[in-house]
Amino acid sequence: MGFYKMIRMGVLLLILLPLTGCWDQRLLKDSLLLIASGFDVEDNGNVRLTMAVLSPRNKVLVFSGTGLSPHDARNKLEERMPGRLDNSNNRLVLIGEAAAKKGIYPLLDIFFRDPSSALNANIGVVKGSAEKYFTRHAKDKMETLQNIDKMFTDKRQTNHIPLANIQSICPIFLDPGEDIILPYLADEKGDLSIIGNALFNGLKMTGTLEKDESILCMLLKGSIVRTASFTFPVKGKKGPASPLSFQIYNNKRKLQVKAGPGGVDARIDLKLNIEIMEYPPDNLSDQDTAGRIEGQLADELTSRSRRVLEKLQKADCDFLGIGRRVIAYYPSYWKETDWDKDYPKAAMTPEIRLHVLKHGILN
């Protein structure tokens, strides 16, 4: 009789299971997918939240609203939405410049607390207001948003921007010895594009970098994702300077930080392997010419790097993580110091050496 008893128990259990109902179902077909969100701050301190949502008809709907906090604003928006908002597929968080200057953590808190939120959403600072961008471009256009996603990936490959998503920036901006930089976007000729990076000190935006500077900044950080390319005018032995384009595809960085009574002294050594992509005068197979060009390019890059480091220091943005080293190797010094004041005064010496490995298939 054991069998019948088991069947009976089994059926009772099965009856018990559906009794809980489907309270925790998140049906894909009934969800409104949030695909991008933007934050602005109004003068009175209220948050203006903009959300681009994929509608049931596969159109992008844009909602904006104001509230005391992002969540307050979101609640108000959800009242107007035709369905359940789901933020697990958020791809983009844009923060208006004004909001970024006030501090980004209060805006991102709702993402960090929600277990279902997409932590791999790209995050960037936008010149002007984020809402304006959404209402102008994203409305009804799915492609625009997908293109932005691709643009982020692309610019990361070319070493313009760091990997910046909600998850990756969090441990860094909570670290006293390191700061983040975020992609800086602006409207250019009716399209949103990445024009550089926004520098942060802690949670507040304090400056910007141009495109070229961004590449160097990423190189100084020691990163090379795939390629990074530059074009400089290079002086020949005689005759006028002609432009030379090259790609960096290998980067070895050495960062040495010393701290003493005289303050902090950081040396950043880069060893780059490059491939020359364009140089009409050629003669590159000649040792002398190659050596001369290497020297010129290295000098140029070093002087540019200096400017980048100055900018970083001016913005008080310790992107290279000098403070981390100080914490690690000179803890007593760190205890005494006020890093926010000391970092801009630190001596930073970049030293870049180049090596031309390839110069195409011309001889």
């Binding site: 069947i7 059926v11 489907c22 998140r26 894909l28 077909k29 697990s88």
Partner: protein
Amino acid sequence: MLFFKAPPKEKPVPLAAGLPDEPVSPSVSETIQWLQKEFGHSSDLVVTRYKDAEKELALIYVDTLTDKQKIQHVLPHLNSPQVPLSWPPFSSPSAQACRTYPEAVSALLEGYAAIAREGMPELILIQADSAFQRDVKEPEGERVIKGAHEGLVERLAINVHLIRKRVAHPKLMIDHLSIHTENRTTIALLYIDGKADPDVIRQAKDRLKELAGEPLLSINRVEQTLEEFPYSPFPQIINTERPDRLTSNLMEGRIVLLMNGSPVGLIFPISFLSLYQSPDDYNNRWLVGTFFRMIRLFSFVTAITLPSLYIAVVSFHFEVIPNELLFPLKNSVQDIPFPPLVEAIIMELTIDLIREAGVRLPTSIGQTIAIVGGLVIGDAVVKAGLVSNITIIIVALTAIASFAVPSSDLSGSLRILRFPLMVGAAMFGFLGVVIGFLFILLEMCRLESFGVPYLSVLDSRLRQTFKKFIRLPGGGTDG
């Protein structure tokens, strides 16, 4: 029946036990009477009386079971009123004497003709069974691309012959079991003495005793009797119509059971992996064989979990879908009126229905049904917006995966095991799928086939496990 006590099982009384072990009477008339009574005066029990110079003789046979040609050559010996007959009247390898009625009855039912003589308390039996039989054709359900194209037929003697000619092994034992089923079915156990486990043979014989007195018409009944866990969805015995499969398993020390009237052989004890082996694995080069075996094993997981994973994803965890895929997917499920579970179940049942309909019909119409069912319904149902096209893809893949199993028993089980997992997925998402799959694994761990653990392929020695999954070049089979 669920909330009531099950009715007690009635054990049928073995019929053969009821027959008195009566010796054959020396009187011909009495013998004839006895047999006619036993056969209920059936009109195909033919009794012809003859006389030699001294005594009466009778030739008795069941008309519908015998071949007149074979009886023909006996007649001149019998019909000789001038000469007194010697006894036995002729010598032939197929002639034998029998001294009890039950034995005679069995022999008559097997197509023997019996000769009785006045004053002799025995019958001479002559083998005269008629040999109607099918061709030894490749079984429809278990085709292979390369390899032997023979299949079992409905006659035990021929099936044994097919195996014998492949295994010319003096130790190949053929054990005719004397189970007195109601319809006197002959069952034979085949094994190689010294390779097969005698314990298993003993166990099998013990279990088969249960069949005594029952009408035994299909080998499936035997299978259920032999299985230790008949309620389990997993078959613990392979049934196959391929002699090559039977012989390779015999050589590995397994036991084969054949039954007269059934073109199917049973193989036991087995492990789970055996169900996933096909003779094709060994007829091809090892690389090809291994690759396709891997695909087949992967199809096991696919066939069970694919629909439930789909349901779990679209109703609980769609964040696991990459964005490029999510938007088309969302588009596809957007306007479906049903919850994913209902949608998937509708489609699954439709596919099973089409399959079932196709099996019953002649080949030409069957193909039409497949096309009508597959293309038209599949396409129309999506166009009508009842089911999303992703579901169609998932269901089709699942169906194909479940047909990739070489064992039809298991493939049927897999098709049914999907449903509880789907319900679990609809209620608890991935958690439900995981728990459901764990239950299935637990069941597989629990099962034994005659003392051999079902999952014995998963050896604690990784090397051994690996060897069982990968068919390296060299002799022998595995699993």
